[in-house]
Symmetry: D2
């Protein structure tokens, strides 16, 4: 599901509509703020692409990224 | 599911946790703003109680309330 | 601003409209999830009433409530 | 503020932190759903970049984009 590319974990999520997509984003926002680890992400209508990397560690994938990815997957 | 009491449609929703509950609330907020018809609602942790009534019609249940209730049910 | 009544810290916030009120609620939701300390709260259109108490401590006001109240105030 | 580039209206908003940025995004989400006109947008921590174009009109800037941009500006 998540692919590692360019030192980021990347996954795209598709939903039925914008309301579903943004509801998901709000849940991810709460998880991210709780972990104090925030995504680079973009949204277009029903689609959300999340990119995770650890800026503090020099823009590489760390355990923090894997943990947030795992928490996000539990939302689905 | 929805009960009519005191001229309001009322339903309580329970979720696994706060993140799920508030994600749902964000979806309801978008539907409500789109319809320009807003709930009276309260949240405690994993529980959300929504009360719908039409202030403009004299605080009674109208077709607008039934439509918003139906849209909310589709989120579940 | 915050009043202590019935072993809860209580404050009502008024905004220009629902969009402003719910944007504020989303910010509070992130703070609450981060602190793992969640409000009892209700919203009607442009008005949000927040009640803070510590269930784990026997439903009394504790330092956790005062800290969350202080964080919420910084959003205004 | 908004620049027109590549047939899109583009503006980047900076906030103090993620909580402020995502609160803003939630407000924009409600406006967008209400207008049934949704942004292409991305967020990294305290920064939000919004791109507006009208897919239905052939991916060009239309009055709908200008109206949503104007509504977003009123949030600031």
């Amino acid at each position: 599901m998540w692919k590692e590319e360019n030192n980021m974990l990347v996954r795209t999520f598709k939903f039925d509509n914008f309301v579903q997509a943004f509801g998901f984003m709000t849940q991810v926002a709460m998880l991210a703020e709780k972990m104090d680890h925030h995504p680079n992400w973009e949204n277009t209508f029903n689609q959300v692409t999340i990119r995770l990397t650890s800026h503090d560690a020099g823009d590489v994938v760390t355990e923090k990224d894997r943990k947030l990815a795992s928490e996000i997957d539990k939302l689905m």
